[in-house]
Amino acid sequence: MRMGNALLMGVAALAYGVLFAPIVVIVVFGFNAPLGRFNLIWQGFTLENWLHPLRDAALSQAFATSLGLALSASAIATVLGGLMALALTRHRLRARSWIEMLLVLPLTSPEVVLATSLLNLFVQTNLPRGFGTLLIAHSLFCLSYAALTLKARLVEMDGSLEEAAMDLGARPLQAFRLVTLPLIAPGLLAAFLLSFSLSLDDYIISLFTAGETVTLPLYIAGAFQREISPQIHVLATMVLMASVALLGLSVRSGRSA
């Protein structure tokens, strides 16, 4: 028993070690002072990269594009997905299992397949590829995640709360605003964050649908070919720090509700 316990703890510790190994490298190499173009070998400590995180203008531009894309795609996904989740949990629908299957399939489809099919659609319909097509693609794969996350939240939430609100004279929309919305707010935030991080990170689908637009992952894939600046590591660390803050926020708001 004691040995089993030690083994268990050992595996867990090792797992966390592996999970954070690349993260440590990313954070540490943000402080590296590479001699040449490739921030791959430790050369020496500097704060220079942190003092000028946006020095790499093309990187900053790609980062800004990705942020804008992730924000708008997550907004679309959260709204559309939220509405779908409401319909699926608060109404009796004959087609429910079909719709749920339709929602599950995009997230269980290999990315490269989605990418291929979207590219083909855009090419065949002569839709010029760029930010718009990226937005379509990203909001699509985020939609499933958002809808299913929110659906889980809504199922968990006691449906009689909304009935209670209406029973107490709230009109359906009022009941939604006064009761449902505040209660699923942590879920909305979680769905939004999940969509946001998925969109920010997507490479394959973006590669196929981006046209001339350069997102952060596309830029970094390109940078691998020519220059891996420490600013890449700095920005990644910043995103991580922001995520920690938001994650803390959502955990806290989830707890208070």
């Binding site: 083994l7 268990l8 595996v11 867990a12 797992a15 966390y16 592996v18 999970l19 690349p22 993260i23 990313i26 190499f29 791959l40 559309l80 997905g81 509405l83 779908m84 319909a87 699926l88 109404h91 719709i99 749920e100 339709l102 929602l103 599950v104 269980t108 489809s109 290999p110 990315e111 490269v112 397949v113 989605l114 099919s117 979207l118 083909n120 090419v123 909001s139 699509l140 939609l143 299913l148 889980a152 968990e156 006691d158 449906g159 359906p172 990170d201 490479y203 394959i204 590669l207 992952p217 970094i220 691998f224 891996i228 890449i232 590591h233 990644a236 995103v239 920690v244 994650l247 989830g254």
Partner: protein, 298 residues
């Protein structure tokens, strides 16, 4: 994370609103989005996969009902397909072996740190996978910190990690970890501790408690974790591209090459659809057996 009390009749609850059109009003925008950008493109891929590329640079496709496209990619890329599935299976198995004990520790030893421990599993994935790939190349390089350390500890020189199957499977395993840990933890969370007490009360040792009680009850979570790990792994592109060598390419790389480099859209489409069919079959089997709720981590 806290499992809130469910209303026992939440599922059977009759409609709140009496208007039959209301749910459809709520569903319509999302359904249109899904139909337009998911179902339609996939449906369009089918005729493309049966076409002939009359001019590969102009991408003029002629529909010929050319089933041979499938036969060709299946014969030519059978080894890559087999390799992809093998890598995906290996990484899924590894991820399960690591994730289960981890989930166990989080669930039964986590105490008030449970939420934090779970968040820590997800946290690394808030960094860009591209940047993580760069970090892996730094870590796994021949003169990198890992191999240097191991060599100092007596690993024979000449051992490589980067650009090997080990690195690719390792990368896939890494990506699979949260998708494995989350559903397993959620399913363990649903097992009341009284059941474990009951088992112990009936003279079951820790191993028996695990094998006869916990494992069967967490099976749906494990199954969901397997599906959620297997599918992205089988279609992965990035790990083979950045961490693999020429003998470790996966089916995703081939699809990418067929479409973007070789400009053979029909064959690329055919291969993509084969992959899609395999994965959809996996999902359907899973959903039939376990339902879809665990797949969505709910």
């Amino acid at each position: 994370m806290n499992v809130s009390r469910r209303s026992p009749r939440a599922e059977a609850r009759p409609p709140l609103h009496r208007q039959a059109w209301l749910p459809w009003l709520l569903l319509t925008p999302g359904l249109i989005w899904l139909l337009l950008w998911f179902v339609l493109p996939l449906a369009q891929l089918l005729p493309v996969s049966l076409s002939e590329n009359a001019d590969r640079f102009r991408m003029t496709l002629v529909f010929r009902g050319r089933i041979a496209n499938y036969a060709e990619v299946m014969t030519q890329y059978a080894p890559v397909l087999a390799r992809s599935l093998a890598y995906a299976a290996a990484s899924t198995a590894l991820a399960a072996l690591i994730a289960y004990p981890l989930a166990w520790v989080i669930r039964f030893r986590g105490g008030r740190w449970k939420g934090l421990l779970l968040a820590l599993v997800v946290l690394p994935f808030f960094t860009s996978s591209m940047v993580r790939a760069i970090a892996w190349t730094t870590l796994l390089g021949d003169d990198g910190p890992l191999l240097s350390t191991l060599r100092a500890l007596g690993l024979p020189p000449g051992t490589r990690l980067l650009n090997t199957a080990v690195a690719v499977v390792g990368g896939l395993t890494y990506n699979a970890l949260p998708f494995m840990v989350l559903p397993i933890t959620l399913s363990l969370e649903r097992i009341p501790t009284e059941l474990l007490d009951a088992a112990r009360d009936l003279q079951a040792g820790p191993w028996i408690v695990f094998r006869r009680v916990v494992l069967p009850l967490s099976a749906p979570g494990l199954a969901a974790g397997i599906v959620l790990s297997l599918i992205p792994a089988a279609g992965d592109v990035v790990n083979a591209q950045f961490l693999g060598g020429p003998n470790n390419r996966m089916i995703g790389n081939v699809v990418q090459s067929l479409i973007l480099v070789q400009r053979q859209l029909p064959r690329g489409a055919a291969l993509a659809l084969v992959l899609m069919a395999l994965m959809t079959a996996t999902v359907l089997v899973h959903v039939r057996r376990h339902g879809s709720s665990d797949l969505t981590l709910s």
